[in-house]
Symmetry: C2
Subunit: 312 residues, 2 copies
């Protein structure tokens, strides 16, 4: 099979042996695979693939058709449309995945949209609800809302009855985010739009210490992206007086059992939103697999609304 391949800091398409499904696994013919920030970090050599994932094939999510099932597979059969997160290897013609991580693709989603769903909706749902406990009526600030996770978070929080403010640096993207009915603002001076019960941090250090000023009593800052810098100065006394919490998480290195639990939550809580029309998958650009280098360049350039997806 052909697959996006990282070699010496470059990304290109190379031939690899076809993967084989082991017990409990699905072999999937990939139709679409989204790009994510972790792929960029892996390409830059700063985020090695976790144990069990292909070392040189990036890709944390995909959508496609089941080609073949390993022993003891119970939920899926050849021909089923599935989508999933994986520890790596998604940006390839074929991938194997444990069936516990696979979700059925709702009829309402085409391949391109489905290929951009798993990682960002999984990440956003876990961060907002499982980790930060966002609840109806609470005030949410999403930093860096125009990206894939940001757009998923804005939609999920709106669906959950939260009051959403979103910072978006690019003016054109900001208008598009505002069109979703949320309060879209520029990052400068965001604390004046607070206080917020939950802040979803997808940008990093430049938003500190203002994040603490913008936080409501008993507020939570959920850190899942620090591309703009990770080192901050923190006044613990201010954190105490606000009785606040800083939560931080990553998705990719979690063990199978935790990813499987999160996948079941996404099936129950998120997929119905695509059926009802509450949720959609904004796609900024698609590229064929042969143009994977261009896709990565587009992702890194920023200023996009939603996902960059490979069509495979």
């Amino acid at each position: 099979m052909r697959a996006a391949t990282i070699r010496d800091g470059e990304i290109a398409v190379e031939e690899h042996p076809d993967p084989r499904p082991q017990t409990g696994e699905l072999l999937v013919r990939v139709r679409a695979a989204g790009l994510n920030g972790a792929d960029m970090m892996q390409l830059a050599g700063r985020y090695p693939a976790p144990p069990g994932a292909p070392k040189d094939i990036p890709g944390l999510e995909f959508a496609g058709e089941v080609l073949e099932t390993g022993d003891a597979v119970e939920r899926f059969e050849p021909g089923d449309r599935v989508m999933s997160i994986v520890g790596g290897g998604g940006q390839a013609e074929q991938v194997v995945v444990n069936e516990r991580l696979a979700m059925p693709v709702p009829d309402e989603l085409d391949w391109i949209a489905a290929g951009g769903v798993p990682e960002v909706f999984f990440t956003a749902h876990d961060a907002l609800f499982t980790q930060a406990g966002l609840s109806v009526g609470e005030r949410l600030l999403v930093h860096g809302a125009a990206g894939g996770v940001g757009m998923a978070a804005v939609q999920l929080a709106t669906m959950a009855g939260a009051r959403v403010t979103a910072t978006v640096r690019d003016e054109h993207c900001r208008e598009q985010v505002a069109a979703l009915g949320v309060n879209a603002i520029e990052p400068e001076g965001f604390a004046e739009a607070g206080p917020f019960d939950v802040i979803l941090e997808l940008v990093g250090a430049p938003n500190w210490p203002a994040n603490l000023d913008a936080l409501a009593l008993r507020g939570r800052i959920m850190v899942i992206g620090v591309g703009a810098g990770a080192n901050i100065e923190l006044d613990l006394r201010k954190l105490m007086f606000k009785r606040a919490r800083i939560l931080a998480s990553t998705m990719r290195a979690r063990p199978l059992e935790e990813k499987a639990i999160a996948t079941r939550l996404v099936e129950r809580a998120v997929l119905p939103g695509f059926v009802s029309g509450d949720l959609s998958v904004p796609v900024a650009a698609t590229f064929p697999l042969d143009e994977v280098a261009a896709a990565y360049d587009r992702f890194k350039a920023g200023g996009k609304l939603g996902k960059v997806v490979l069509e495979i």
Copy 2:
């Protein structure tokens, strides 16, 4: 009545009008009242009394006998032995308190011990269990374990089946903490004794960034004391990879309803420990009310095991 009184940064005993119980309140003849770190901060002018508390009488806890009850009091009557946290005013011959904050004093506790119970056991129970979710078998590190909250935390965590390590700077105190059966160590190099699932921070900045190094995957750092410094540098990326949480809290400024809920938890979960003998109240020193200035000096000098309590 006579009461410890803060005037121009000094503490002394002065005459005050007797307080009167309003609806739902108890008037209590105070027998003993513990000192706490917040009293020192208030004396230093850095922690004004919260709304509704006497501006100039410190004291966040007391034990004594009910003298009189206001209208609509349901649980207590004159002569009952009670103890309670208060927003201030505890270091006085008389104090009024909402009955929802009062707890019965177990027969096993004398006045001195009871006067040192509410603030530290309330604070330690809330921090370890309600906030940080400490659970059986988890590894706990208590920084500054020889103080009042620290000793309460070490005992509660041991009672809860956690595995407890405690940092204690004073060598003599460290031996006494070790005698409780916990792993008592000096603060230097504490991270080597990790990893820990929960770190209770009662000291402050000097324990950072080592606190992050010492933390287990999915660990929680609970910050409730920063007397040695509050400003730290934090690597958010490290926090993400550990999927860790920094929690921070204070007790004194909480609204009545939250304090009442925490009080009920202490009644149910902590007071039985004094009856069974699992818990005790280490008292480092007692002073009569007239020697309140000496009591404050003793508290500030450090190197003590457990509480400093005024006998009133």
